[in-house]
Each structure stands twice: as C-alpha cells, then as structure tokens.
C-alpha cells in the first residue's frame, strides 16, 4: 500500500488552513475518478452531470445558493434593498435609535438609516471576496501548474517559495502590507491600488498572502494527471506543454479547485471584516460590515443592534459560500455516491 502513504504525507505537510486538508483528500478521489479517458469531454459532462444530480437533492446547496444570490443582487442593486433610504442622509437627532417598523435596522450613531448602511456594505464585501478569489486562483493555478508540470528544479524552487508564504499567518501578513501600503514608495512613486486603501488594496493583500493553497491543490492535481495515458497520447501527437496543460490537464484538475474557491470567497469576506476591524482595511466613507461592527463596539451596552445586525448579515454571507462549497465537495466526491 504505497498510495495512502504518499497521500497521508501530503496532508501532513500542510498546516494552517483546515479547508485545505479536506481538499487534499479530494485530490486523490478525483484523480481516481478520471481513469483512462478517450473522450475527455464526454467523461467530464458526466462528472458534472452526476454532480448536479447530487447537488439538487442537497438542502445545504439550496440554502447557500439562495443566500448567495440574494447578497449578490444586494451588492449590484443596493438601492432596491434599502427601502428608499439614502445611506448618506443622516440626522444626528436619530442617533443610535433601535429598529422600528419604518426603519427595520434602526439608526447608527450618526443618525443614518442602518438598513441602507448595511445594504450598501454588501458590494465591498462581495467585491473583495470575488476579486480576491479570482486573483489567488490566477496566481495559484499558474504557479501550481508550472511547478507540477515541469517538476525538477522549477518545482523545488516554486515549492520553497510557496512554503515561505505558507508559513506566514494570513491576517498578520496582510495587516503589515496594508499598514505599510499607503506610505510605501517604489522608486519614489506611490504604489498604484495599494496606496488607495480601497477594496482593491485589501484584495491584493489577501491574494499576496493567500494564494498558496490553490497552488498546492493545482500542483498535486497536475502531478497526478500528467502521467496518465491520454496526456502521453497528446504529447505523442505533438502537443506542446502549454496546449497539454490548458487543454488536457487543467480541465481535469478543476473540481477540487472549484470547491476550494467557493469556500474561500466566504473566508476572504470574513478576512476583510477582520482587517477592517483592526483598522487597516476599508475606511469611511466606504461602507463595510467590519467598519460597522468596530464602530458599534463602543455602544455595545446601549445599542447592541449596531453590532448584532452587521454581524448576522456578515455571517450569513460567509455561510452562503461555505454551505455551497460543502455541498459541492460532497457532490463531486464519487466515493460519497451509493
């Protein structure tokens, strides 16, 4: 039994991110699920077809999906959800009033309609979640595919670099980068995006310290797939490395990456709130749930709704993506099927 040995050793090599370990288990499963394939396309649709049939029966997937669509719509069309209130129309006489029939979420300390404030916060959160995940997938897939496909010294070098980033705690690293960012100069010029303290800077900081899990996932998938017969066949037909990677290997490595990406959208949204709470993320006049939680903290005893409402909304958003990711993982894992 040599196979479990290697997969177990792989798993123990990672540490921090609990999501990742489960992903690694996934790796073995999907690699086995894609055996000697002649018609790669047909096999794939059937993998996704099976997964969809499985997904449709999972309540977690529907709850998560409905929540995610709800918050997505809120991020794109906030004015539809704010019940006609303008987040910038504030009156101090309403300061920290509790929720009422006319103003469902009450008012914040500055007397702004809290429902509008919370609704307008969705856009920044989801934007950071999605751009962050796209960014770390791009870095992770490129670095992971190169390391896995070419092996040898390329792999050793890239794996060491990944180890370095992997050992750095995400929030601490992003904290330093975001604190340094606005003042940093490269050749005497402020760094674009990073210096602006907006959603873009936060997404970049999260990508910079968060791409490693995606890289390891892709790398191990590529290593598992590259020795399969159909890759050898493609190579024999004269396909170059780029074509083999893009057309033959990556499409088969996509399942665990999708699971990971879905859950990570939620994780990054939570990380944004944490960084903003620590004071290095979004600043006023941006709307952010993290900002609302940290502002409301001082009024926790007198106006607990100021902390509780954005907390619940933030948690529901994160939960939407975690639930969908969990359901996807189960659906894409052939061992779970009876």
């Amino acid at each position: 039994m040599s196979e479990p040995t290697t997969s177990q050793r792989h798993r123990s090599d990672e540490g921090r991110d609990p999501h990742q370990r489960e992903e690694e288990v996934e790796v073995g499963a999907t690699a086995l699920a894609a055996p000697d394939v002649d018609e790669a396309d047909e096999k794939q649709t059937s993998l996704w077809g099976d997964a969809w049939r499985e997904l449709r029966r999972k309540p977690f997937f529907w709850i998560g999906g409905v929540l995610a669509v709800f918050f997505l719509l809120m991020a794109i069309f906030p004015s539809l959800f704010a019940r006609g209130a303008d987040p910038r129309a504030c009156s101090l006489s309403n300061s920290a009033q509790p929720p009422s029939g006319a103003h469902w979420f009450g008012y914040d300390q500055l007397g702004c309609d809290y429902l509008a404030q919370v609704v307008y916060g969705a856009r920044n959160s989801l934007q950071i979640g999605f751009t962050g995940v796209i960014g770390l997938l791009v870095v992770g897939v490129v670095v992971g595919a190169l390391a896995g496909y070419f092996g040898g010294w390329v792999d050793s070098l890239l794996a060491r670099i990944t180890d370095i980033f992997y050992a750095l705690p995400l929030i601490l690293g992003a904290l330093i980068l975001l604190r340094v960012g606005p003042e940093a100069r490269i050749f005497g010029e402020p760094v674009p995006v990073i210096s602006e303290r907006g959603p873009g800077a936060i997404a970049i900081a999260l990508v910079f310290f968060g791409w490693m899990t995606a890289m390891r996932l892709v790398r191990s998938q590529v290593i598992a797939i590259k020795s399969s017969d159909y890759v050898a066949a493609a190579r024999a037909l004269g396909a170059g490395p780029l074509r083999i990677l893009v057309r033959h290997i990556l499409p088969n490595a996509v399942a665990p990456v999708i699971v990971y990406a879905t859950i990570t959208v939620g994780a990054l949204i939570a990380a944004e709130a944490a960084l903003t709470y620590l004071g290095v993320g979004l600043q006023r006049p941006n709307y952010s749930w993290g900002l609302q939680i940290s502002d409301g903290q001082n009024l926790l005893r007198t106006a607990p709704h100021l902390v509780l409402i954005p907390s619940v909304v933030l948690s529901l958003t994160v939960m939407a993506f975690v639930m969908m990711g969990d359901a996807l993982r189960d659906a894409l894992d052939p061992r779970q099927r009876s």
Binding site: G15, R16, V180, A274, Y277, I293, L308, V318
Partner: protein, 307 residues
Amino acid sequence: MGRYVARRLLLTIPVLIGASFLIFAMVYALPGDPIRALAGDRPLPASVQAALRAEYNLDDPLLVQYGKYVAGLLQGDFGTDFSGRPVLQTITERLPVTATLTGVAIVFEIVIGIAAGVLAGLRRGSFFDNLVLVTTTLLVSIPVLVLGFVSQYVLGVRLQVVPVAGIGEGLYSYLLPGFILAAISLAYVARLTRTSLADSLRADYVRTARAKGLDRRTVVVRHTLRNSLIPVVTFIGADIGSLLGGAIITESVFNIPGLGRAVFDSVTRQEGAVIVGIITLLVFFFIFFNLVVDVLYAVLDPRIRYE
C-alpha cells in the same frame, strides 16, 4: 528517520530566511523616520539623531540591514526596539499569554471536537449526527470577529459568567477567548473524526472482529478508535502552529496582550525589530509543529516509513 528529520530541519532554514526577509523588506519600505517620531515635539540634535540612526543601522541599504539583523539573531540577539527595550523581553512576556490561549483552544478541540465527532460517526444519519453537521457548519461560517463579539456580549456583558476582557482572572479569563480561537478548528476536528471513524467502521478488520464474536463496544474502543484518530491527532498537532500565529483577532476582541497584539501595536509604531522578531518566531513554531506532526505520523502508523 534520523536522516528524514535532519533533511526537513535543513529545509526550514530557507523558509525562515525567506519569511523574515519578506517581512523585513515590507517594514523597511516604510518611509517615515521612526527616530524623529520618537523624539516628538522637541527635535533631537542632529548628532544624537545620527548616532541613533547608526545604532539601529537605519542608514544602511536593505540587504546590509537585514544581514546585520540575521547576524544578531544567530547569536540569540533579537535586537531592541526604539526605546531601548530588548525585543526578546517583549517576546518572553507575550509568548506565555499566546501560548496559554492556544493551549486552552487545543484542549477544547480535543475534548469537544473528538467527542462530538466520535458520537456522530458512530451513529451516522442520527439526530445527533445531523446536529453536529449543522453546528460545525455554523462554527465554520461565523467569523471569529462576530463569534467573539456576540459571545462577549451575551456571556460577559449580559449574563456576566465570564470576564468581559483582559486576563485579570488567571486561567478563567482564557476560557471564552480560548473557545472562540478554537471554534473553526474544533468544527474541523469534529468532522474529521466523524468521517474517519465512519470510514474505519466499514473496514474489513472491523467485520472480522465482529465475526469473531466481539461486542461492538470492544471493537470500537480497541480496534477502530486508535486507527481513526491518527489523522485527527496530526491535524491538532499542526493546528498548534497555526493558532499561535492566528490569534490576533481573538486577542484584539478580548483585549489579551499576546504576540498578535504586540505585532499590531508595533506596526502602528513602526517598530521593525519587534515585528520581524515575532513573526520569525511564529514562522519557526509553525514549521516546527508541522515537522513534529510528520514524525508523529510514522510513530502512530507503522505502515509509514521515512527513508
């Protein structure tokens, strides 16, 4: 095994150097003048400023500064912050706090996580199993920030059963923060235990043991648990390293003066030596506990051999 450990130890060196250099370079990029900031309203004489800048190597290029820093580290010298206080002193004060917090968190992971996982794994599909599934989903989904605030409000402010913040009441004040810090990992321990146990219960040797006439309890306790806990033990081992470095939010919410807070405060004051020193230490712990786990694997599972 000895050679494997030696090789892994050697591989930690480039990671330590790379990680500390990365942090060092980021802090170096700060353009402000910490010496002038230190002096406040009354500017220091130029000669004093120059002497201080020389003492902290502030005029050297990045690589030279870093080289001098590493040379100091190798002799056990973590440097001093700008008020002349040794960084090592800050670390020895703060490390026990974060270590205690992590220790409490790990105990929660072991006790609650494994117990819930075992009970759920033994009765798959039961009410309790579904309860564990839903609870772990909630624990994973609710951000530490939110979980911290809400529990602080309910248990500390409203019910007043635990201290609201600080570490004034000894180990007791670590109870709630420890649980919050453990929350996400706890959920994973429970799920991992559940799947792992359910998998081993389907194994052939379990059927053999049952066929032999052993009762279910003996089979579970003597044959299955030990095997199915291997991945759980290693998960928890590696988690020690991550929790040490991941406690900053918990420490901030509950106002606990640990290593994460120290980094946070030092970032605001541009105390490069403190930031780099602490993060290098955290990276070392992270690598160390992962190495321990890999060695532990071979001890727990005799099928695994490191050549």
